[in-house]
Symmetry: C2
């Protein structure tokens, strides 16, 4: 029983790892080889609108300094622009550039591609059940990256 649970846990980790690798490969194939998974999560928050540096930090579970560095990379690579927040002179609102939007679209495609691979390897009912279970278990906490 414990044994069974352990292998289940290992399977989830393995699946997640292969998912990450697959998406990364798909991104490279689409011409975005300068983005990491963490960037993707930042994109997700930014495209949701009205994101600040601190929002990113909280969303990714990292310090605001680390978030600042991460955003700086995205700005430097042309994915994101910072502009002043009309409501708060301290804050700077983040927004995706066209390139940034193209990148998020590519990420969604790449992820969908991997998931389609799963669908193809499972009976229809099995895939549906997998999705249902994942959704049921997924009350989204902050999306922790970088488990060192």
């Amino acid at each position: 029983m414990d044994e069974e649970n352990w292998t289940t846990a290992a399977a989830v980790l393995g699946l997640a790892g292969r998912l990450i690798d697959g998406v990364q490969a798909g991104m490279s194939a689409r011409g975005f080889s300068d983005v990491r998974p963490a960037h993707g999560f930042a994109f997700a928050r930014i495209s949701a609108g009205a994101a600040t540096n601190a929002d990113i930090a909280e969303h990714l579970g990292i310090t605001k300094q680390a978030a600042s560095q991460l955003v700086e990379q995205l700005v430097g690579r042309g994915y994101v622009v910072r502009h002043p927040d009309p409501r708060d002179a301290r804050a700077r609102l983040l927004e995706l550039t066209d390139r940034g939007r193209a990148c998020t679209a590519a990420a969604e495609e790449a992820a969908a591609e991997v998931v389609e691979g799963w669908r193809a390897r499972l009976p229809a009912e099995g895939f549906r059940a997998l999705r249902a279970a994942l959704v049921a278990l997924g009350p989204p906490g902050p999306l922790r990256i970088s488990w060192r």
Copy 2:
């Protein structure tokens, strides 16, 4: 459709992240707060028997130098011992100490605990299907950690 696939992918990543965090918490609760997930995967390989430094490197998908550092930590913390390989004077076989075995047992317990939580939150049939899908999708490649 793509949208659905994307959320599925995100759910897997979220689940894996919470699994890692949960296991880490369980390990701390059991008195093993000086081990990281990567150590756990190394333990798994070592307890399988006849493991060398290079085996660890391959199993974790890191360089042999990184594996050496990792093993060095485990030795320093009393989880692993190195002794000469009777078959090959260059190699050093790795073996778990009692403490190392206790640690792997704790890890399995902690992981099982998290998975039991999943079981409790799903209908019996849903959990069974989840497990079946994970197993079907899980032809274990090397267990990549550290996706930065």
